[in-house]
């Protein structure tokens, strides 16, 4: 008996993100204070951000890139460190654009 093929489902995270349209504005709408993050033991944003935009660094901080952001709000909701994330929507007309959602 052959199992149902499930290997077709495996695509790289970059390819996954490439299926969403982002109209990137040059100004970052979310700014993360790396210093605040160095003292953070849980780093919940790293696990929870659906776009995987928070990347832990070797010195215990996180690196953040705003470009492929769904503007969902998960990161500021899970972050317990006051002032670590300053969160805004991107400029009007920019950021994520959904199509078949």
């Amino acid at each position: 008996m052959t199992a149902f093929r499930t290997d077709w489902g495996t695509i790289s995270f970059d390819d996954r993100m490439a299926t969403s349209e982002f109209r990137i504005h040059e100004r970052a709408h979310i700014v993360v204070d790396g210093d605040a993050c160095r003292g953070c033991s849980t780093q919940e944003c790293v696990v929870a951000c659906p776009a995987r935009l928070f990347v832990p660094t070797s010195d215990g901080g996180v690196l953040f890139n705003y470009e492929q952001c769904f503007e969902c709000g998960t990161c500021y909701l899970v972050c317990n460190t006051k002032g670590a994330i300053s969160w805004n929507y991107p400029e009007g007309g920019h950021g994520i654009v959904f199509h078949q959602t």
Binding site: F4, R5, T6, W8, G9, T10, I11, F13, D15, R16, M17, T19, S20, R23, T42, E44, C45, V47, A48, P50, A51, R52, F70, E71, C72, G73, T74, L77, V78, N88, Y89, P90, E91, G92, G93, G95, I96, V97, F98, H99, Q100, T101
Partner: protein, 437 residues
């Protein structure tokens, strides 16, 4: 309040289902209304699981089904209880839902929201896209007098502002209508839009023409409290999971990994085999219902839809769009009446609360107020699926030469094995009955 001259009678923030319905009501009542949307077009920022229940539109758009951008009409609803190796499905089908006035329908939000916003402009509302409302304007007494936008000279004044700005609801927060934000009131939804030929979908899901399927799943989220869904569109399948925020972070499981394991389950894999990922999306849901409502009326301000946490997330029901459309409609109606009376202060706007109270919006929430918590509880999430699936498995298992144990014994043994206390089982049963019964 003394009459002051303003740019508009009313400003509605957010052209989602709540905002567009508010704008339709106001425009039809002859008020000047501006509908502001931060996306390049209405719906461009919006994703959801995939099924709308548009019955409430009967009041606003008679025969809406003849023109709404619907993918499929849901004629088959399944609820699935899953463990890594088992699945129990309750599958219901009704051909009564295949013809007007229908029940649920799958639709893409960028299509649906865009269509609904066009109804508002048809009625005379002005729509301003690609514009972010960055805050509210207030007079010295604290009354909301308009909004600030990210456009040059972007201040706009109105006698009443309706915040339909969705789950993050920065306006309601700025005006102080919310208590302290608590991440455990929210779930993250992630979804894949998966492409398959229409005939393949029809065949695998057992439907024809415009008929569609809605499958809700519990027990498929790898120990992170939440649930899964599979919905059919014409030539795509929407598949995703919703995950309770603090749990997701604590379990150290990534959202896309949980989707991947859900897709590999033997009850799901055959449905979507070979499908290509067309679009990946994510959004947050206000999940706690009744327990997290903000104040819905402020000075010169009304809050509707997800901005007011009015989404109903009660396990077998994930209804937000209909609650948004209804609350938006009532907010628009109450605002129009207040404008006509010339009193847009808190007591002038208060009839909004009565409208919500006497409609399904608050009645459903009230009745189901314990359910969101029950559905996301550790027992329902991690213990009951295995308990129930094992009972069924043993009922159907033929253990010859051992005689059949009988349901009573199976129940006792499985309860013990699952480590469920009678007390909890009874209490959860009662809570469920109170909400659903």
């Amino acid at each position: 309040m003394a009459e002051r001259s303003t740019d508009f009678d009313a400003i509605v923030v957010g052209a989602g289902p709540a905002g567009s319905c508010a704008a339709i009501e106001l425009a039809r009542a002859g008020k000047s209304v501006l509908l502001i949307e931060r996306g390049p077009f209405p719906g461009s920022k919006n994703m959801y699981g995939g099924v709308v229940y548009p019955r409430i539109l009967d009041e606003l758009i008679p025969q809406w089904w003849e023109e709404a951008p619907i993918q499929r009409w849901v004629t088959r609803r399944s609820t699935m209880i899953m463990t890594p190796t088992q699945a129990l499905t309750i599958d219901f089908r009704s051909q009564n839902w295949a013809a007007p006035p229908y029940n649920g329908a799958t639709a893409y939000r960028p299509d649906f929201d865009h269509w609904l916003a066009n109804k508002a402009t048809d009625a005379g509302a002005q729509l301003l896209c690609s514009t972010v409302v960055t805050g509210v304007l207030r007079d010295s007494a604290g009354n909301v007098t308009g909004v600030r936008t990210d456009r040059p000279d972007g201040d706009l004044t109105a006698k009443v502002v309706i915040a339909c700005d969705g789950v993050n609801s920065f306006i309601a927060k700025e005006v102080g209508l919310y208590g302290k934000a608590d991440a455990s009131n929210y779930t993250l939804g992630v979804k894949e839009t998966l492409a398959l030929p229409k005939e393949t979908i029809d065949e695998r899901f057992g439907v024809r023409g415009r008929e569609g399927v809605d499958i809700e799943v519990v027990g498929c989220t790898e120990g992170v409290n939440g649930g899964g869904f599979v919905y059919t569109n014409l030539d795509t399948v929407s598949l995703g999971v919703v995950l309770k925020l603090p749990k997701l972070a604590a379990q150290k499981k990534r959202p896309e990994e949980i989707i991947a394991s859900f897709k590999k389950h033997p009850a799901i894999a055959p449905l979507i085999e070979g499908a290509e990922l067309k679009e990946y999306s994510a959004h947050v849901i206000p999940e706690a219902g009744y327990k997290m409502f903000p104040k819905l009326v402020g000075p010169g301000l009304l809050v509707a839809g997800d901005a007011a946490a009015l989404c109903l997330a009660a396990g077998i029901w994930l209804e937000g769009v209909n609650f948004a459309m209804a609350s938006g409609m009532y907010a628009g109606r109450a605002a129009a009446q207040a404008l006509t009376r010339g009193n847009t202060g808190p007591d002038g706007l208060k009839p909004y609360l009565t409208m919500l109270d006497t409609s399904f919006v608050l009645k459903d929430h009230q009745k189901l107020q314990e359910i969101p918590h029950l559905v996301l509880s550790d027992r329902v999430q991690n213990q009951y699926p295995g308990f129930i699936a094992n009972i069924v498995e043993r009922m159907f298992r033929v253990d010859n030469p051992t005689p059949k144990p009988g349901l009573r014994r199976i129940l006792l043994e499985e309860r013990k094995r699952a480590g469920i206390r009678w007390r909890d089982l009874l209490r959860d049963g009662r809570t469920g009955m109170k909400g659903f019964g």
